[in-house]
Symmetry: C2
Subunit: 394 residues, 2 copies
């Protein structure tokens, strides 16, 4: 698991992040995992996310430390001309791999692409916006305005269900990392800088368009209904066992479906229904259309068996399946404790725990970073002093 | 909105995709938006996703065409030695920008990194896996095994709520595009190829670790409860108006909160509660801890006003807010029809509609691709013939 930093794909890049919350820090973390040197700049006392929940019993933010692993830390008085100059110098310092800024603090003249490009003509800036018109927006408001909460949740629940995962922030952070890497490739070939703007609401709209959620009403004049825990467009849903275990089952292909029919011993009943309905359950559309009948046929098999028996029987089949688990169970299980994606991290302010690296393994190697600086050192740092261990910046 | 293809950041790259469903095709689409030439290879008759719902009334897949925009198409008999050789030649053809494969069809010896690197030593392969042990997995099973469905949904609903957006597929596709771009940067500097493996379950685990969902039980010994539509860790929830409109409201900062108190005319009541509870509502933790009381104080203002009046009043404040909308309303509204992210696309098999480009704008320009080939031409193509317009491959 030893890594020679210089062999990583983004070795030699130096990125400055003036950022907070999820998308922008996730961009910096991901670039750091790929080998870039990333410096997060915070205002005096820390940004608005410095103490964000969840925290340890002692008050250190698990959230902040998780998203800022492997970064240098600089604290500057961003309201003073001197502090602004320090950040500008940090971004535009000479050197092949430098001249890269990622920020969610758009609209500041002193940090704008125009200002920075006068100091370094090939600067790459990535500005993450809330909304494309410059107004603020966050994952939860962007998601509300888009339509996903209306198709999420139990069918009997008339209302909207927000997602728990801030999926748009995650996608936005990854698009931002891709924008940096793509812009750097162009700069290395042509010498040109780039000014990239990336609005969170456009991230969500673009994905919703590409996946057909917006195209469907445009083309067909209708939008889809909520499907509860059923998978849209094929056969998949959740089942409860005799002792209360719960499994998610997906039959995406005819083979998966045949195996599901076989393991549940429902061949005759399914064949009779298929014939009576004039359906062809080898087709996605027909499995989806008649999903409630199919679920009613399969349910007794699950309901009458223990979780262990269901797990053992499904393991012998091609059926896509997983038992629902909570975070605590996952964190204590093999997926974390026996997975090379995770390595021990000694995090100041938190202690030692198993932290994930980059999910993409290059030539069999997962890339990890060191810990975040202790957020307490950011809170307490005077202006223009490093909270981290990267040496003085002024 | 005219684009000179050669100015795009990934101009000159040639990528072959042997892929299906969401993650791998989204990777290819994103790289195509950034200027790469992407060829999707399908087996005779098309892959399992060729007709996936939603479809038009005539049966063309809106899903497939959305995810495969801007790609060339090659159909080959992937079970024959000749078809396999055609694909190998396509991937390993000489030329600086070639030698790149993205696939979710892992475990095929003829398409493996080892085999391809013998034909071209600097080949970059990105293999998207379902699960890290090579077993299949899809977004909905990976998500079930991780914990998010247990913290999603109305608090009164005892159970699990699947997300509707395949968020892990989306994140996986973007990580894959980032892996390609990073590996290309390394190859352009060192001449080295890369063999990248990217399991969908590790994507989900890595994000869950970074955002603290797994770290919280590891460090604190406890996992969080479902919070319904409330935003975890600060103040945010949804409210219903007199005529049934619904708004998502987030007060992420003290200023947002002061404005929310002010617009709802609840200053005296909130101040009295704050004092009685010994709370400080300038702190995220205190707003979150006492969120039910706060929601009860704010609700009457929403309940007694029309949707229009609520919208007008909130627009005057700093409070983060959006009205919940469905996909049909979004598709017909300014977010799509008056947004430079969308451009008319004439899609064979579908017709003309407004399709989104890349959400990241480079120097003010959104990058668009042409349409997908008509999936009917893929279904009908004989082996080793192009379904698209890229000329013969053999």
């Amino acid at each position: 698991m030893t890594t020679t930093p210089d062999s990583r794909p983004l070795a030699g890049l130096r990125i400055v992040e003036v950022s907070s919350f999820v998308a922008s820090p996730l961009c910096g973390l991901t670039l750091a995992q790929l080998g870039a040197e990333v410096t997060r700049v915070d205002p005096i006392g820390g940004a608005a996310d410095i103490g964000r929940l969840p925290t340890t019993a002692e008050g250190t933010s698990i959230y902040w430390t998780g998203l800022n692993k492997g970064k240098r830390s600089v604290v500057a008085d961003l309201r003073s001309a001197e502090g602004q100059r320090i950040v500008q110098d940090l971004v535009t310092a000479p050197g092949e791999g430098g001249g890269i800024l990622v920020t969610n603090q758009a609209g500041r003249e002193w940090l704008s692409h125009d200002t920075l490009s006068q100091l370094r003509s090939d600067v790459v800036t990535v500005e993450i916006l809330g909304r494309r018109d410059g107004r603020p927006g966050v994952d939860y408001t962007v998601n509300a305005a888009l339509g996903f909460p209306q198709i999420t949740g139990p069918r009997e629940h008339a209302g909207v269900v927000n997602h728990a995962l801030p999926a748009w922030d995650v996608a936005c952070g990854l698009y931002a990392a891709l924008a940096v890497t793509s812009a750097v490739r162009r700069r290395e070939r042509t010498g040109l800088g780039s000014h990239v703007t990336l609005p969170l609401d456009d991230v969500a709209l673009s994905i919703a368009s590409t996946l057909g959620y917006l195209t469907e009403p445009q083309v067909n004049g209708a939008e889809r209904d909520a499907t509860g825990n059923d998978v849209y467009g094929t056969y998949g849903t959740d089942f409860v066992t005799a002792d209360g275990g719960r499994f998610m089952i997906v039959a995406l292909t005819p083979r998966h479906f045949r195996d599901l029919v076989s393991v549940t011993g429902t061949h005759d009943a399914v064949a009779a229904v298929e014939k009576a309905l004039g359906a062809d359950f080898a087709r996605d559309e027909d499995r989806y259309r008649h999903r409630e009948i199919l679920t009613a046929l399969f349910s007794p098999w699950f309901r009458e068996r223990s979780t262990d028996d269901v797990r053992t029987a499904l393991a012998e089949t091609a059926v896509l399946h997983e038992q629902y688990r909570g975070f605590a169970e996952v964190a204590a299980g093999d997926a974390v404790t026996a997975n090379p994606l995770f390595a021990q991290l000694d995090q100041p302010g938190i202690g030692t725990y198993l932290a994930a690296g980059l999910p993409a393994a290059f030539d069999g190697e997962h890339y990890f970073t060191g810990p975040a600086v202790d957020p307490a050192s950011v809170r307490q740092a005077p202006a223009a002093q490093n909270a981290g261990e990267s040496g003085s910046v002024s």
